[in-house]
């Protein structure tokens, strides 16, 4: 989740409340506040559905409402501007959507620059799917001359990218510039690359990779041109979040005329979205008992525009909110505005009779048998690897029906176990410094042919572990589980056992279990130095 660094002084100034007041309520608005707070700032995580809170300005706006200092919808005036941005046909197959705006009259303190850069990065992550869906460029507009053009350019087109002093072609940027290396894959397979140029053909931006060095934002910058490009209408939400955040810092928003063959439009569009919601529905969902007026008041604290009309509430959702998809999203905000801490917890009245799953009841019996026999329960991982599971167990080749994960995160975890025994041997291997005998079992799940099956494995390690010991245990288990009569014991060919000292348990000609004395070569693979006898039995299948 994005972490926003909030400087207390800055927040006090932006919100108009004391640090203590702010910090005591922030978590109840929906935030994870870092524990290791410094004296002058705190790092706060906001949820991925609220990109409008990814900047101190956005947090301040929300907190002002939540603390009741300024409630209701914020009006952000948009002056009609003279800047035009022409979208050319050549870019439409590559990165078709663009929204832009001009913001003037900014004074960039270091906090403000840090906040803008942070917001940009967090939006790239949170809304932009790492710039694929949405990428934002911010420019010093005084360095270029409108009108601007957004086009698909020849990859050989050259310009000086940000943080470089020499011209590179766009193709070279993808290979040599750090940002090109990070994000170049987004343009894989494109014949033309997105580019924004001014009236003199000077480059503002090569979205979604890098800006031109020409329009770099510095302490002296006062007027910004903002471009947001991408493949999804979420572009406009990102633009709204950026420009309203800058307006909170005192910037004056000016519109840009975006000209396209399918129709021109004025950008940004900060008109709120209108919803009509029912107070009854909110009351039923949350469980409180509010009038439409009270509901509207709760929503105003969350900076919605809200007006009660009978039992309904007309809600104006701010243009910077990217998370309102359904009336319940609005009701959740109403509950936050009301205060989660003011909601009285009440037990549901639903009366039902509970019952344990048959598999778990059976597992409990299996456990009881093994515990009675003096075995300690273990709960090993179900992820393992071919080497331990098959090669060390002398059970190669890997049988079909083994579940392999596509992109393992380590060599240790490449498949789901199809049996439990190797896991017990691994546990013995890490416990060799403890007194023997050691007797352990696991009553866990395995996966074969993508079906979850329940197994029991038990193993005993000590200097006089013998076949007769495990035979007694196997008999006891089968007897107690009521399987004795159905099972036939036949000599096993399983490579894990010493030849002639392993037995298979057969039920209707299918092997459902085995027991015996493990082959010394198996023990050696696991690094064990004492004899081990073991059994494994399948006792259930999840249908």
């Amino acid at each position: 989740m994005p972490v926003v660094r909030l400087y207390y002084e800055d927040m006090e100034r932006l919100i108009g409340a004391s640090r203590d007041t702010i910090m005591s309520r922030m978590a109840m608005m929906g935030a994870d506040i870092g524990k290791s707070a410094e004296s002058d700032h705190v790092d706060v995580e906001f949820f991925p559905d609220r990109p409008d809170l990814y900047s101190p300005e956005g947090v301040a706006r929300a907190m002002q409402g939540f603390l009741g200092l300024k409630t209701g919808l914020v009006d952000y005036p948009v002056q009609k501007g003279s800047v035009v941005c022409q979208v050319e046909e050549s870019v439409k197959s590559v990165r078709p959507i663009i929204g832009c705006a001009v913001v003037r009259g900014l004074e960039f303190s270091s906090e403000a620059i840090e906040s803008l850069m942070g917001l940009q990065e967090d939006l790239h992550w949170g809304l932009g799917r790492n710039r694929r869906k949405v990428a934002i460029g911010v420019h010093d507009i005084s360095r270029v001359s409108p009108p601007f053009r957004y086009l698909g350019a020849d990859p050989e087109r050259k310009f000086v990218p940000l943080d470089f002093t020499e011209e590179l072609s766009m193709r070279e940027i993808l290979q040599e510039h750090p940002k090109g290396k990070d994000y170049g894959h987004i343009l894989d397979g494109c014949e033309r690359y997105p580019l924004i140029v001014d009236a003199n053909d000077d480059v503002l931006s090569f979205p979604p990779i890098i800006n031109g060095d020409l329009t770099r934002v510095t302490d002296d910058t006062h007027d910004l041109f903002i471009d947001v490009t991408g493949t999804d209408p979420m572009v406009f939400k990102a633009l709204n979040i950026v420009v309203t955040s800058l307006a909170e810092r005192g910037g004056k928003i000016e519109s840009v005329l975006v000209k396209r063959s399918e129709g021109d439009f004025i950008s940004p569009n900060l008109e709120p979205t209108r919803w009509i919601v029912s107070a009854d529905e909110a009351n039923q969902l949350i469980g409180f008992d509010l009038t439409a007026e009270e509901l509207a008041d709760c929503l105003k604290m969350m900076r919605f525009g809200a007006r009660a009309e009978g039992s309904m509430v007309e809600v104006h959702v701010p243009a910077y909110r990217a998370d309102i998809m359904h009336s319940w999203d609005i009701f959740e905000d109403a509950a936050k505005g009301f205060g989660y801490d003011r909601l009285v917890a009440e037990l549901p009245k639903t009366v039902t009779i509970g019952s344990a799953h048959p598999v778990e009841l059976r597992r409990e019996e299996v456990r009881e048998i093994m515990i009675g026999l003096g075995y300690l329960e273990t709960m090993p991982f179900t992820l393992t690897n071919e080497k331990v599971h098959f090669e060390w167990m002398r059970r190669m080749p890997v049988p079909p029906g083994t579940t392999r994960v596509l992109h393992p995160i380590s060599e240790l975890h490449t498949i789901l176990r199809t049996s439990l025994l190797s896991s017990l041997l691994e546990i013995f291997a890490i416990n060799q410094h403890h007194p023997l005998p050691q007797r352990i079992f696991a009553a866990g799940d395995v996966v074969v042919d993508k079906k979850t099956r329940m197994h029991l494995a038990a193993a005993s390690i000590h200097s006089s572990a013998s076949f007769s010991e495990i035979r007694s245990v196997a008999d006891a288990v089968m007897r107690e589980m009521g399987l004795g009569d159905e099972m036939k014991i036949v000599p096993s060919q399983d490579g894990a056992f010493l030849p002639g000292r392993g037995a298979d348990l057969m039920k209707d000609d299918r092997r459902v279990g085995l027991f015996g004395e493990l082959h010394p070569l198996v023990l050696r693979s696991f690094g064990l130095e004492q004899p081990v006898v073991a059994l494994e039995i399948e006792w259930g299948e999840l249908l």
């Binding site: 998809m325 936050k336 917890a345 009440e346 549901p348 009245k349 273990t378 709960m379 392999r404 993508k450």
Partner: protein, 489 residues
């Protein structure tokens, strides 16, 4: 029953002898044999053996010489009588003596003359020297300052020796006196015939014409440490949670480890380009599942499904939905169950293993247990969810619970319950919310569904005091053996 030699040793100790050497001498036995008998008697609680380490001091060769001749400074003092020029001292031992004379303040040097002063009384060091000349002695009988002085001059060395001192116990005294009668035989193992036909009087037995005595043991002695077979401490915690859920009227459900993306993600209204669905977070399999009729799920993703939702827009792909994964949560199992049982009321839960593509370390494992439960019924609300959560945590032993807003893609509203733990403060423990309409509507579920999930291993860390999650799965056997069943969990 005592062996003859044990009986003799017991008698000797009972008579007040305590030193194995003396007992050996007296009984004409080897010292080792006496010690072995005494150890056996001690094990039966008849004698007590006090072992101690004694330090003995003896003179070095130089110390021996001085012991006989006197310390160099004493001899020099006699030699100079009333005064002597320093230049006349030739003997090397005189040089040593001169240093000590001055140090002890027995003489001064004036104008090249050594002159005695004071009375030069016999020092503690000289007393100790004299006393050690007779033979090695323990430190207790010697003056410590004198001893230290001699040690620092290399005149005394020490050696450590073990000493045994025996003492009769009251029981031993009784056995010794009876052994003297030579009538009753001591009895350790009680034979079956003795139980059936013996003539018992307290510990005394008359059997088969003989007298026996079942001697008491020292019941305070430690025995070998053994361990019962046990449930895993983590399983006990899981069972406790299962018990709470069952008590509260929930039925247990289970599902497959391998799930389609459809149930794991799409049915829960997770957009197909959601970051949590990416390869770096989820274990995908190289296989496709059959997915059920998906038209309503597709509709809700693309356009909101006619329930007043905007949907995600874009194009929903059944191909993507059919990709198989190791379940990343048990919620897929839950929604599938609800889809099959859409009529209220439903109260179900499950505790099962889930998989996340995370590198393994002390606080992350690629698989872990999740507790999950839902209540679906007419008229249930978010406030009822809070009520359930509070009750559940209370039953788990967390008395203070508070609720913070949270975010989960498939619930709205969402809440993060926190419990107060001494020393840690407020700790987030799980997540909960009301299933979004976009989740329930496509499956014909008309009532609200209250849902919550909880990372069980996190509770285990708190309850079992674990620092490393891996211990749950790659267990240290000694930890399993030593963790008592009755642990507060």
């Amino acid at each position: 029953m005592l062996s003859e030699s044990d009986a003799r040793v017991l008698k000797a100790i009972s008579d007040g002898l305590y030193d194995p050497r003396i007992i050996a001498e007296k009984l004409n036995m080897k010292v080792e044999a006496v010690r072995a008998s005494a150890d056996a008697l001690a094990e039966s609680g008849l004698v007590r053996v006090n072992k101690s380490v004694k330090e003995a001091f003896s003179l070095t060769a130089e110390g021996q010489r001085y012991g006989k001749e006197g310390l160099p400074e004493r001899r020099l003092l006699q030699e100079i009588a009333s005064g002597k020029p320093v230049s006349e001292l030739k003997d090397p031992s005189s040089k040593i003596g001169l240093g000590w004379l001055r140090k002890k303040g027995w003489a001064v040097i004036q104008a090249g003359m050594i002159k005695p002063i004071g009375s030069a009384a016999k020092g503690k060091d000289e007393e100790v020297l004299e006393s050690l000349l007779a033979g090695p002695k323990s430190g207790a009988s010697l003056d410590s300052s004198g001893l230290e002085a001699l040690k620092s001059r290399g005149l005394v060395s020490s050696s450590k020796t073990k000493e045994w001192r025996y003492e009769i116990t009251p029981e031993g005294r009784r056995v010794a006196s009876e052994a003297g009668d030579a009538k009753a035989q001591s009895l350790t193992v009680i034979a079956s015939g003795m139980i059936k036909n013996g003539d018992w009087d307290g510990s005394n037995l008359r059997y088969d014409g003989r007298l026996y005595y079942a001697r008491p043991y020292d019941v305070t002695l430690a025995a070998d440490r053994i361990y019962p077979g046990k449930k895993h401490p983590y399983q006990r915690l899981i069972d406790r949670m299962r018990g709470i859920m069952l008590e509260m009227g929930f039925s247990e459900i289970k599902g497959q480890v391998v799930q389609s993306s459809f149930w794991n993600f799409d049915a829960l209204f997770q957009p197909q380009d959601h970051p949590a669905r990416e390869m770096q977070d989820t274990f995908y399999l190289d296989s496709k599942a059959e997915i059920p009729d998906y038209s309503r799920v597709k509709e809700v993703h693309e356009h909101g499904g006619g329930i007043g939702s905007t949907g995600w827009g874009g194009c929903w792909s059944p191909e993507v939905a059919s990709q198989e994964v190791l379940r990343t949560h048990t919620t897929g199992v839950t929604i599938k169950y609800l889809a099959e049982h859409p009529m209220p009321p439903v109260k179900v839960f499950g505790i099962d293993r889930v998989y996340r593509r995370e590198a393994i370390d002390a606080t992350h494992t690629p698989e872990f247990e999740q507790l999950e439960g839902v209540i679906m019924d007419e008229g249930v609300s978010f406030r009822h969810l809070l009520g359930f959560l509070k009750e559940f945590y209370l039953k788990m032993g967390f008395e203070e619970v508070r609720f913070r807003p949270g975010y989960f893609p498939y619930t709205e509203p969402s809440v993060e319950p926190e419990v107060f733990i001494d020393g840690l403060g407020w700790v987030e423990l799980g997540g909960a919310g009301v299933f979004r309409k976009e989740v329930t509507a496509p499956f014909g579920i008309e009532q609200r569904v209250l849902a919550w999930g909880l990372g069980v291993s996190r509770v285990a860390m708190l309850k079992l005091g674990l620092k490393d999650l891996r211990l749950l799965y790659q267990s240290d056997i000694q930890w399993l053996r030593e963790t008592p069943l009755s642990i507060e969990s």
